[in-house]
């Protein structure tokens, strides 16, 4: 099969229809009046948003030197320009005329642009100026020399180390804007820029709202918005894959937590290279990363806003805690197969083997799973933790005492994420410190259902594994 079209010389793709050059085929489909050789007629161009050439823009912006066209995408065309007076290199972004034609646009434009101009932050692309030039709406913004996350993702995943360096900066930007009452509404890889110096810059704050108007997805889109969609800019009302469920269902009630959801999607995509699909698989199942990150990503992706992190800064703290603690020696790894979380390659630590030696004293205990079922349906969180404590009482009474130095101090446990504390507890059930901490959290109402499940299942697994002959349990004092 040929690799080039014999007629026009363009390379032939493997999916070319019947092995023929699609463009030549299409040319040939035009009537030529007489049987002139196909392909010689060049059909006229149909109108669509063609970005003006720099020299065409120059008269509209006398204060600027338009240097070059950078690209078209998102919501307009971007050029590199120089402010003549200041001598500063900036980015000039113009909106396609179709996107800007709706009712009340001018008013929205001004209102939003003013809000954006107030966002002065190292991780947000600064807006310098905005307005209309000869009917063309434009922005003058900080020019970021680098790439956007979309381009990185096209190559596949982002290395976990990089992702963990990027996310906190996004959080800083979001928190700053949220504190000022500004919601981005269209966080996605295309809007996350990475400068050559490794700095993250979020672009296009509020632009979605500006163009989409009072975003009501249940109203029919006006023809000009649809035109904008067809001519290039996608996601005028946000990009569906990154939109929080409430943004889709009740756009009028959206608040800053929608940005947190979008952050979750981006985080997931960075780690795994894919969008979170129908079956939400924890990232550590797909990539070799710290299991504790699953909790962070999945919580940001909670369907209900009230179950997500409520502040972007919380996400940052979690990520940074995990990054920090992974630099210090870890407690003995989890026993394998912790249901509700993920499979790990780790095997049981030394502690487990020594406990098995004390198996004899557990022979009288009944099987745990029944208990777990009973407890979980009653959602008695404190009881669960008490269960754990009782377990240790038994262990302690059996005469076995752990003399190893503790990997976690009480202070560290207090500030560690719950999943980490649970893991520490399950890794070393003789150690009462993580369990005290968990009890405190349960009493303060800071343990959620999911965490209770993890504790219950983890204990069940661990006990089953270590006491295959069964074990008895004092059910009576637990109630529920």
């Amino acid at each position: 099969m040929e690799t080039k079209c014999p007629s026009c010389g363009r390379p032939l793709a493997p999916n070319a229809p019947l092995g023929l050059c699609p463009e030549c085929l299409m040319h040939c489909a035009f009537p030529t009046g007489g049987d002139v050789a196909c392909g010689s007629a060049a059909p006229p161009k149909s109108p669509r948003f063609v970005p003006p050439k720099p020299e065409e823009l120059a008269p509209l912006f006398p204060q600027l030197e338009i240097l070059e066209f950078i690209g078209q995408g998102g919501m307009g065309a971007v050029y590199r320009a120089r402010q003549k007076q200041l001598g500063r290199i900036v980015a000039l972004k113009i909106l396609p005329p179709e996107a800007a034609g709706g009712a009340g646009f001018a008013e929205r434009f001004t209102r939003e642009a003013r809000a954006l101009a107030s966002l002065s932050h190292p991780n947000i692309v600064t807006l310098y100026e905005f307005g209309q030039a000869d009917g063309l709406y434009y922005f003058l913004m900080e020019l970021v020399d680098g790439v956007n996350l979309q381009e990185l993702l096209r190559a596949g995943r982002v290395a976990p180390r990089e992702a963990l360096a990027i996310v906190p900066q996004i959080c800083d930007a979001l928190q700053f804007a949220h504190d000022l009452g500004i919601v981005h509404r269209d966080i996605k890889p295309g809007n996350i820029l990475l400068s050559r110096r490794g700095q993250v810059k979020i672009a296009d704050f509020g632009i979605a709202k500006m163009i989409g108007g009072d975003v009501r997805a249940d109203l029919p889109a006006s023809p000009d918005i649809l035109a904008a969609q067809q001519h290039g800019p996608t996601g005028v009302v946000g990009t569906p894959e990154y939109m929080a469920p409430e943004q889709i269902g009740h756009p009028a009630e959206v608040d800053h937590r929608a940005d947190i959801y979008a952050l979750g999607v981006v985080f997931y995509q960075m780690l795994t290279g894919e969008l979170p699909g129908q079956r939400l698989e924890p990232p550590s199942r797909k990539v070799q990363i710290d299991v504790r990150l699953d909790e962070v990503v999945l919580r940001a992706l909670e369907k209900k806003p009230e179950q997500r992190y409520q502040q972007a800064s919380e996400v940052k703290t979690m990520v940074e805690t995990i990054v920090q603690s992974s630099k210090t020696p870890l407690p003995p790894p989890l026993p394998p197969r912790l249901p509700n979380t993920v499979d790990r390659n780790g095997t049981g630590g030394p502690g487990r083997e020594t406990i098995q030696g004390a198996a004899g004293s557990w022979n009288t205990l009944k099987s745990l799973p029944l208990l777990v079922r009973v407890v979980l349906t009653g959602a008695v969180l404190v009881a669960l933790v008490a269960l754990g404590l009782t377990a240790f009482a038994f262990i302690m009474r059996s005469g076995y005492v752990d003399k190893r130095p503790l990997a976690y101090s009480p202070n560290k446990l207090q500030s560690a994420p719950t999943v980490a504390v649970i893991q520490a507890g399950l890794a070393d059930p003789r150690n009462s410190m993580p369990w005290s901490e968990l009890k405190n959290r349960a009493q303060a109402g800071r343990l959620n259902r999911n965490e209770a499940d993890i504790i219950g299942d983890g204990l069940a697994t661990w006990l089953r594994r270590n006491y295959p002959n069964g074990y008895d349990w004092p059910f009576d004092d637990l109630g529920g």
Binding site: N15, C21, E23, C38, G39, K45, G73, Q230, P240
Partner: protein, 250 residues
Amino acid sequence: MREDRPSPSSSSRGAPRPEFVTTDWPAVLHAGQGGGTRAHAALARLCQTYWHPLYAYARRRGHAPHDAQDLTQEFFSRLLERRLLARADPLRGRFRSFLLASMNHFLANEWEKARARKRGGGRPALSLDLAAAEQRLEPADDATPDKAFDKQWALCLLETVLTRLEQEFQREGKAALFALLKRTLAGARESQPYAELAAKLGLSEGAIKVAVHRLRRRYRDLIREEIALTVAAPEEVESEMRHLLEALAG
């Protein structure tokens, strides 16, 4: 809906062009249950022809193959059950644009809810060859999903037309003729001079010229026929062709 099949173009130059059928697909979509099975069948045929560009679109937007497949199936079953309210102004006329706008709307508003409801079971609306679809995808390039969609649409159209053409020739026992002459549809006159072709087929050069002429005529008729099914008025066929040509070039 007007469903007269156009007669084969045996007319000499100067005779009126055959009437091209439009599906009147906007009416079908708005007709509700009273649309009639023929209209529905025509719409179903359109969907079966053009599902791949939508699949490619979903993939280009980042959905994994399995999700993209579910998405495409769900979208089309709603379309065919007429549960997708037309958001685009159908008087614009282009089925292609309408499909893209509807898909966007579907993605933005309904896909999330559909997933949540976990519609299991039931016959899928279309037969999708997932493996083949993955193979036909273009490698990721700079094209936005919209551009990728239009380009895939154009490729889909071309493939449909060429396949029809091939089948017509086969039915008339002229498979070899088609195989040799098909390159002339892509304008490659220089690489295969008529004299050579004539020799290969045991025909005179004059006969080859006539055969090529007829092939091109029939090809053009079929392309227009297929495009006409996706536009609201015959006058729009040419502008749609221009758009698709641009999409291929981009």
